[in-house]
Amino acid sequence: MSGLGLLRYQIFLVHGVLFFSIWHASLSNMDKIVELSPFASNVTTLLVWYAPVLAIGMLGIYALVTILYGVITFEDCPDAVAEIDRQVKEARIELKKRGIKL
């Protein structure tokens, strides 16, 4: 996205405008869509009308799943603490030799 030089909020605005244009067009052409849709007409109508809500809902689910997965797979490194403690001991010995007061 760096090619166009748009700021992040502008990119979001563009996507938003695009989405709402398509949504508005869909609402204006509901008959055609119901005709083409594999779902029943009342289901189709609902889906189109609530498309923005559904989109946000799906985004929310995606966020939840991603975050929870990230928390579950977040690696713990207890060895790292032991390693640092060990090296701190080494350091203290060497620094004492060099006359550095700790």
Partner: protein, 248 residues
């Protein structure tokens, strides 16, 4: 390691009240660079720490030599961004390491970062400008975080990732290796403070078409017990993130 042997590495360490940690981190840095046969210097930028950090830095300088450690002493607590800029001015290195001075970052990851920077996997030998440490990828991780802390970290990162799309897995990480020209170009542009500061560097670098690679690192949180993550930090973070969303 395919590093040209003449490259000098500058590790810039902003310090405020790190009197205890500074000698320890310096020792570990010295060990790491020496054992890998790499030329280095540490640039300490001290903001008039009341606990005697400056004195211990001077003692280290006396013992290890002025070529290994430079000291930039500032008159007051002036913030991280300007500390890095001051350190960068004094630094002589071709490559710059920015990291925490409180032992949460282990210098042992620096050679891995260097290796990534040298072995550019791109076929057209593209230069790698930044190698950033990530806690989120396999091989990385944290020590000392409970579920809540992990949750806030992942949520904050998801939010930043969604809004800013930076192309790195760990946006708020502060352990990075920079090509000197790259950091010199980016740093003066950065205006954020706190966590957003680290994010802004990456976001701007990406926008300017710099290549950023990642290396898994471990983050040892030794001060979590004293809880740094209250509502104030969260609000500041969101403010910083919002500002970046509207200005980058």
């Amino acid at each position: 390691m395919s590093t040209p042997p003449s490259l000098l590495y500058s590790v810039i360490l902003p310090t405020y009240n790190e009197r205890e940690n500074l000698p320890l981190i310096f020792f570990m840095l010295n060990e790491t660079f020496e054992s890998h046969n790499l030329k280095y210097e540490v640039v300490v930028v001290d903001d008039s720490s009341p606990d005697g950090t400056l004195e211990v830095a001077q003692a280290l300088q006396k013992s290890y030599g002025a070529s290994k450690i430079q000291i930039v002493s500032r008159k007051g607590k002036l913030g991280l961004g300007t500390a890095y800029i001051a350190g960068l001015k004094a630094a002589k290195g071709d490559r710059i390491v920015l990291m925490d001075a409180d032992l949460s970052h282990h210098p042992k990851f620096i050679p891995s970062m260097i290796q990534v920077m040298d072995n550019n996997p791109n076929n057209n030998n593209q230069k790698i400008h930044i190698v950033t440490g990530t806690r989120y990828k396999s091989g990385g991780g944290v020590a000392g975080w409970d579920w809540y802390r992990k949750l806030t970290s992942r949520t904050a990162n998801f939010l930043a990732d969604f809004l800013l799309n930076p192309g790195v897995s760990d946006l708020t990480g502060s352990f990075r290796l920079y090509d000197r020209a790259s950091i010199e170009q980016i740093l003066p542009q950065v205006q954020s403070k706190g966590y957003a500061f680290q994010m802004e560097i990456i976001v701007r670098a990406r926008k300017q078409n710099m290549i950023i690679q990642e290396v898994p690192i471990t983050f040892v949180d030794r001060i979590y017990g004293q809880s740094k993550l209250g509502p104030r930090e969260i609000i500041l973070y969101l403010q910083g993130l919002t500002k970046l969303f509207f200005t980058t």
